[in-house]
Symmetry: C3
Subunit: 308 residues, 3 copies
């Protein structure tokens, strides 16, 4: 049995046993919730701080709900208006927060490596949980995607997963790839315009392609990424409808996939840009299940890093 995690920065170092333990725990959280136990007492007296340098109401709310359902207190540190803007360094902010005797800091930051930097420089026993850093990692998203897939397709060894969109700049894709690889996925297909595909060395686990039809063929899971409007130019495609034509998931294309192929998206979705509305809302869409699993996975992570 692998040792208990004290931080969660990336899934890159986590083995199959560890990821499986977290997913099992998230499933027990979901079962308890479905049986009416909405609130647990596991983290009573613990304090969790949301430190979001990038605004993200969805992820922040998901973490906040997760922490509250475990009985923890949650404080939102509104960094946009804090003294960090007055020139305080990240390190001084970190040490100040630590000195207030917090148990966990959930951090999102535009720059890759910020959570890792915080772990290296933390002076107390505070746990750091990465809620997304630069293009690097978004580990709870990777876990919630793995959980959503596992509910429907428990055998990763027989699974073909296609991820499509701006993989080069996507921390979601990187964490997904780590999770699915650790769980033994059979085949990973990474699809997008050439300029939005990562360097091969950066992501050695996948098969790269610009041909979305081929990438969809026989896939058991398709994960569509959000296209950031400002990346449009890099695609060499004239406009969003041309992007949708080549890389959007519509119902016609979905027929090429394996029967019952799961359709996923980290949200928020751009309807008609990367995904057709009828597919996003269709019977194969697992997008809202992902949101629900997000809360359970974050409960599992908080219980893991803060558990006694």
């Amino acid at each position: 049995m692998s040792t208990r995690l004290h931080h969660l920065i990336s899934l890159a170092q986590l083995d199959r046993a560890c990821i499986t333990r977290l997913l099992d725990r998230a499933e027990r959280m979901r079962d308890a919730s479905l049986h009416g136990t909405r609130k647990l007492d596991l983290l009573h007296g613990r304090t969790v701080l949301n430190l979001f340098f990038e605004p993200s109401t969805r992820t922040r709310t998901s973490f906040e709900l997760a922490a509250r359902r475990l009985g923890a207190d949650v404080v939102n540190f509104d960094i946009a208006r804090s003294s960090t803007n007055k020139g305080e360094t990240l390190l001084d902010t970190l040490h100040t927060l630590e000195a207030m005797h917090l148990d966990a800091i959930i951090v999102r930051h535009r720059e890759t490596g910020t959570p890792e930097f915080m772990v290296r420089h933390a002076m107390s026993g505070v746990s750091v949980i990465n809620a997304g850093d630069g293009n690097h990692a978004h580990p709870t998203q990777g876990l919630l995607d793995a959980l959503t897939i596992r509910q429907h397709r428990p055998d990763f060894n027989n699974l073909t997963v296609t991820i499509c969109g701006d993989i080069r700049h996507s921390r979601v894709a990187r964490s997904d790839i780590h999770a699915f690889t650790a769980l033994g996925v059979r085949e990973l297909r990474l699809c997008g315009p050439e300029s939005l595909l990562p360097e091969p060395d950066d992501v050695p686990q996948g098969h790269f392609t610009e041909d979305f039809d081929a990438a969809v063929e026989g896939a058991d899971v398709i994960i569509m990424l959000r296209l950031q409007k400002e990346r449009m130019a890099a695609t060499l495609l004239p406009d969003e409808s041309a992007y949708f034509e080549r890389f959007g998931l519509n119902s016609e294309r979905l027929k090429r996939a394996a029967p019952g192929c799961l359709v996923m998206h980290p949200g928020p979705i751009n309807r008609g840009i990367e995904i057709a509305p009828d597919v996003a809302d269709g019977a194969q869409s697992r997008i809202l299940e992902q949101v629900g699993n997000g809360v359970f996975v974050r409960m599992a992570v908080l219980a893991e890093v803060l558990g006694r």
Copy 2:
């Protein structure tokens, strides 16, 4: 006995029995509070989300206090900074929030019909509570105004109520009118500059007038509405002091009303525009009682829609 409400969108469909039940419940909440029971455990484990598309610290705080005093967890979803600004549709925001297993969403929106729209499209059992939509409805304000009146004048059948100001654009006035009519008010007088009075078909229950002196004559309750500065032009009055002259409530005018006439205002007040400072702060003013009752009414509504 009328059935339990699952949502609260408007008072238009609520009958006397239902409104009375909510007011009775609010009164029990107030009694418990006055006897030292500040915190109840009724909604322990339940989660309430504030979804305010229009800023309103007062109403949001009132709902937040109400939910906390019932033991619920409260999450503020700061929509101004959320992904809705990145182009996510209202429906996608709604479904995302539902997927996080919330129990109630308290919504305020500039557009009439948004809470109703959310009820129609909600996929889970989440309760929707309208905290004000466009010119349409502000049901908890209608209830708290009714509660405030009932404490002092329990017999609505003998009551003359005057509402003065921008009735055309006021969701407060509409919800007041529904509440007072359901409770059997004898006479409703609606007063304001012609351009700020509603179409008669829109509000069939009231007597319209531009003569404030006549509207005050013998009234048992006077509710002054806040004048939105941007509506000034539509009044055809040259400036705020001219408005105050014709439609402001001063102590001289108040003498025309019935003895002990209640003076009310939903706040925040514009001193010297719609109401004289000495009247706002005077012995007949119930403005702060309204604020206090706001918390108790919102507790009653939350207990009603979330109660088991």
Copy 3:
């Protein structure tokens, strides 16, 4: 034994017994925390409201943590977006909040005297706690500084304390001076550029000097204040490095102080402007202890004013 406080506006009127009682209580809070009792139930059912007219994430968070650890509910009233901006007066805001049955209001305001004004006009039993007003007072900072010193140097009668920086505009300095004087400090040295020193009548307790080397000589405690960038011009020094040269605390200068002299700063620090990084992070620095003590002092103050 002095009577229990109902408000905390300034330390000017508090005698030694009262300050000692608050510090003792803060120490018991710290002991309980160190022995694993993170959460007390003392203020269960009480509601504390943060009313910050000036943004200050650090102090607000510290108060929020303190209140939560005592079991109180905390509501943040986001004044920047509230109806106060729509022209509501401070008094109307105060009375509206009181009407919601809050137990304590923690207020920060740019203008000197705002908390005092609120106490004078409060109509209910609400407690007002000053979290900083203008240049006037920041009483919990004075208490936490006294607590930090007392842990290391319990005998104030043998203590020389130096405060350096913009003392003229510093509410921190004023509250420190009141606390240390009440506790019987032997010598208080106030140092800074002449234009940033207060009028002698304003602060009669201290010895004024522009010679920082002399002020450091033999000091047991040195408190460095944050230089507001906009005050730079008033110093008659050409730039920040010239300021640091004359009034910055570096390790060379620190050697003139008494052995083991405590180095303190209210934060956030300007590295290289008022304090050298190696001193801020050095063995004699008590800056992070101050932050930790801030939570315990605020717990003590809340327990004092809200205790039954």
